[in-house]
């Protein structure tokens, strides 16, 4: 198929940036979206032009590195899918596709479609762990966990840290990401000891990074490639309230 691509180009963090238009032909519907960009980049290199910079690594929907805002939607049109899993079957001949980076105060653009998501690492460093040194652990089966709790904890832990939730929220809120980690550990016996401090530190760090408030619009859940549920936000709010009451 033949396509028109409208892609955000920005040389570096300081550059103002803007859209560039490209036309591309010979795209097969078996290609993944990123393979389509590979084809574009090969042609740009052929013309001695700079290829489009974008983040990607696993190309199978698990590392959370790919991050494109496609036709106004984080990770494009397919539900529960990362950009790298999106295939060109989703488009038709003659389409114009607009591709932008994540846009949020907490995620400054590095180059073209690449953004800086290190704020997420700092939020985890502020409390997204159980403080257990290597060698401290007792036999694993000494901790029994009801299957429903284990399953729900797993569902929260499936977050890939991609940041689509932030990118699709009009307030650039990181609540879905933060609540997924808080929820995972709050549901497990191992997470109880530091429960109160964890939620307080993580929320404080989230605010310090410049992410906005949650006003329950639900677009994070709708666009999350791992379909992380809004119920985790509700759980985190409860955790936060309880922690503050216990002060």
């Amino acid at each position: 198929m033949n396509l028109t691509l409208k892609i955000w180009r920005q040389k570096n963090a300081k550059d103002k940036g803007g859209f560039a238009l490209y036309t591309i032909d010979g795209i097969s519907e078996d290609m993944s979206f990123l393979e389509m960009i590979d084809v574009l980049n090969e042609r740009l290199i052929g013309k001695n032009a700079e290829p489009v910079a974008f983040d990607h690594d696993c190309r199978e929907g698990i590392c959370g590195m790919c991050s494109m805002f496609i036709n106004g939607r984080a990770h494009g049109p397919w539900a529960g899918t990362t950009t790298c899993q999106l295939h060109m079957r989703a488009f038709k001949d003659g389409d114009t596709i607009t591709i932008e980076p994540w846009r949020a105060a907490g995620f400054p653009v590095v180059k073209d479609l690449v953004v800086d998501r290190s704020a997420f690492d700092r939020i985890i460093a502020s409390g997204g762990f159980v403080s257990v040194n290597t060698g401290n652990a007792k036999d694993a089966n000494n901790i029994t966990i009801p299957k429903p709790d284990a399953d729900e904890s797993f569902a929260a832990a499936a977050c890939i840290g991609c940041g689509a939730c932030v990118a699709s929220c009009k307030n650039s809120s990181a609540m879905l990401f933060v609540s997924a980690k808080v929820s995972q550990l709050a549901l497990l016996p191992q997470g109880q000891v530091e429960r109160k401090q964890r939620v307080q530190s993580m929320v404080a760090q989230m605010d310090a990074e410049g992410f906005g408030n949650c006003t329950n619009t639900g677009s994070c859940e709708a666009e999350c490639p791992k379909e992380i549920s809004l119920t985790h936000i509700a759980r985190m709010n409860r955790e936060y309230m309880m922690a503050n009451i216990m002060e």
């Binding site: 698990i62 899918t81 159980v130 652990a137 191992q190």
Partner: protein
């Protein structure tokens, strides 16, 4: 010829590690605070090592090229992690895990190392659970296990099809905790480009900040390479796009021997190549072989659709050739059998380079079980199949969805098409029992070293090895070296060795940028991949390997004359990053072919057509090849072979048979 000393402690297999631990020299806490350790890599091996060493009190600097340590390639592991817990009461033990691993590796690994791995495996599960890793559980609240290829017990722990993700996020959280405490300094989007050597010891690295393009010098009393495997030398593999050999290769060029470079694992169940645009291959977990049946049409060039081919015209070739193990033979055997059928012209799909993985029988079987469970009577065939599909969905839903997204086909209705793909590299930097390479102060952990899997790795054992190395081995073994080094003060990075090393890296970057050729990096990478896959892939022979070596040499020349890298080096430049990696892959490719040429026997993933039994099975040659091939760098394209003899005191090597 240098003598390779594996430093395996003396004494009984069962007590070596315990004795070692209680006699290893210690570094006192005050001294630890002034010792700096560089960890390159943040996958399972790197993150677990960096956090554990920081907990002990060392000052750690950790590097990765992704934008966050959480994205290291370990995140993609699907199936599970082995541990000798014997929670299922099915007769598992440290010995059995040890034995299965040595046998699975076709008797090309060290007994001492593998036994230690099996010993610490149980601690790994304890540690991960304590961190909050949500492993799958039974209704009683206890941990669940599944079985994996090449074993007869259930010892694999898992978290749906995302085990690597959950384990890595556990190790990452431990790492970030130390970052928060200030004991680890994390350098994301940094790529190590050389080792700095002072007085014959590794004392630091040169790294490039991938955002600004600037080179940086970092000092460390010791340097740990946890940089993963090199499967991407084939261009197409199941590895992440960024996985590369650069760190290990630069170390090799500084004197670290490369062990068994030709041992490559080709995984039998991956989604086949769909066209020239293909950028990577996707694994379909080995667990599918528990229920799926693999077949091709009996007739050559059969153009009919799968469901138009009647039962008696199908060839379930694994069940036919290996009645004892059937579809559950080890990976190397299953891969070769698929290739054999496709080479005979019986392959399926448009490319004819694929075989069917069929769930029809499983769907029907599960459907009937459901009917019994639910106590239903007079159930129609449709209803049985519907119930069966639901059961299969519960077990493998995420994999079936992944297949459907990629191929646009519905695997519940038509059999999946699969073909083998490059997946894992058993070869890597040669290390001794301490995990130290042949360069003092330079260590290699995880997939980056050659150690524990011999010539073939069993499923669910790489995660185990990476975490064993990082959590439970290196925190002890590094003491042997560092206890001798407590008087060494941090060496300032204006030392001439740092200046020289940086200059050398700078020159290579300049050279690459100044070629200004006409072909993209990928052009060369694809060419290299094709040579490797055709001549150093699933089957190898003398003629092909010799041809490959000259073809790779020619490609190397072409690359250094013809590569085009747009942009500049003082900015984020993804093509420049790739170019450096491909330059190293080209040199590695040649060494892999040399190693494959040298090893005239077949063993594990290495199949030499000249060394096969009459019915086409691999034939090992213990009299001549029971050794680790450790290669020393002697200049580009030149290498010298050193042999470490393998001694088996406990297990007795026999010809593997799965018939």
């Amino acid at each position: 010829m240098t003598k390779l000393n594996s430093k395996i402690p003396a004494g009984d297999l069962e007590t070596k590690w315990t004795k070692y631990k209680s006699s290893v020299p210690l570094v006192n806490p005050a001294n630890k605070r002034s010792i700096e350790i560089i960890v390159v890599g943040s996958g399972l091996a790197g993150a677990s090592a960096a956090s554990s060493l920081a907990e002990l009190g060392y000052q750690v600097k950790c590097f990765c090229f992704q934008d966050s340590p959480r994205r290291a390639h370990s995140i993609a592991a699907q199936g599970g992690i082995n541990a000798a817990k014997n929670y299922q009461n099915d007769g598992d033990s440290v010995y059995r895990l040890f034995y299965d691993t040595v046998k699975g590796g076709d008797y090309r690994a060290r007994e001492g190392n593998v036994y230690r791995l099996a010993e610490v495996s149980a601690n790994i599960i304890d540690q991960c659970v304590a961190q909050g890793v949500p492993f799958a559980r039974e209704y009683g609240g206890y941990l669940s296990n599944r079985s994996f290829g090449g074993t007869q017990v259930q010892r694999t722990f898992y978290a749906a099809g995302q085990t690597g993700q959950q384990l890595l996020l556990g190790a990452y959280s431990a790492l970030e905790r130390q970052v928060g405490l200030g004991t680890v300094k994390m350098y994301s989007r940094h790529e190590m480009l050389d080792i700095v050597m002072i007085d014959g010891k590794a004392r630091g690295i040169i790294a490039r900040d991938l955002i600004s393009g600037k080179l940086e010098r970092h000092f460390g009393h010791a340097v740990l390479l946890c940089t993963g495997g090199y499967g991407n030398v084939f261009f197409l593999s199941t590895n992440a796009m960024g996985s590369n050999v650069t760190a290990a290769w630069k170390a090799h060029k500084q004197g670290a021997f490369f062990g068994n470079p030709c041992y490559t694992q080709i995984h039998p169940t991956c989604i086949p190549v769909s066209g020239d645009h293909q950028s990577k291959l996707t694994l379909m977990s080995e667990s599918l072989r528990n229920d799926g049946r693999i077949w091709v049409p009996k007739a050559k060039n059969d153009a009919r659709k799968a469901n138009e081919i009647p039962e008696e015209e199908r060839d379930y070739y694994l069940e036919r050739r290996y009645p004892a193990f059937g579809n559950l033979v080890p990976r190397d055997v299953a891969s070769r059998a698929a290739k054999e059928r496709c080479d005979e012209g019986c392959g399926v799909g448009t490319s004819k380079m694929a075989v069917y993985l069929d769930f029809a029988a499983a769907i029907e079987r599960y459907g009937k079980i459901q009917v019994n469970k639910m106590n239903l009577h007079n159930v129609s065939k449709e209803r049985i199949l519907e119930l069966g599909k639901e059961a299969v969905k519960e077990k493998y839903g995420n994999l079936f969805d992944m297949y459907a997204k990629i191929t646009g086909e519905n695997p519940y209705e038509t059999p999946m098409r699969i073909y083998p793909a490059v997946h894992y590299t058993m070869g890597g930097l040669w290390v001794d029992y301490d995990l130290m390479t042949s360069v003092p102060g330079l260590y290699a952990l995880g997939e980056a070293n050659f150690s524990d899997h011999g010539a073939n790795r069993l499923g669910a054992s790489a995660l185990m090895q990476g975490l064993a190395d990082g959590y439970f081995v290196i925190p002890y073994t590094i003491g042997t070296y560092l206890s001798q080094d407590i008087r060494t003060k941090a060496i300032p990075t204006d030392h001439e060795a740092f200046v020289e090393a940086e200059k050398k890296v700078q020159e290579q970057l300049d050279t690459l940028m100044n070629i200004k050729g006409t072909k993209s990096v990928d052009h060369f990478h694809k060419k290299l991949g094709k040579i490797m896959w055709d001549k150093c892939g699933m089957a190898r022979n003398e003629k092909g390997l010799t041809e490959a070596i000259s073809a790779i040499r020619a490609l190397r020349e072409e690359f250094w004359k013809g590569v085009r890298i747009p942009g500049t080096q003082n900015e984020m430049n993804l093509e420049l990053e790739k170019a450096g990696r491909v330059a190293d892959f080209i040199e590695l490719g040649e060494l892999m072919c040399k190693d494959a040429l040298n090893r005239k026997e077949s063993c594990g993933g290495h199949f030499r057509e000249e060394s096969a039994t009459e019915d086409g099975e691999a034939k090992r040659d213990d009299d001549n090849f029971s050794y680790v091939a450790a290669w020393e760098f002697k200049g580009v394209g030149e290498s010298e072979l050193h042999k470490e003899e393998l001694k088996f005191d406990v297990v007795h090597p026999s010809q593997r048979s799965y018939k």
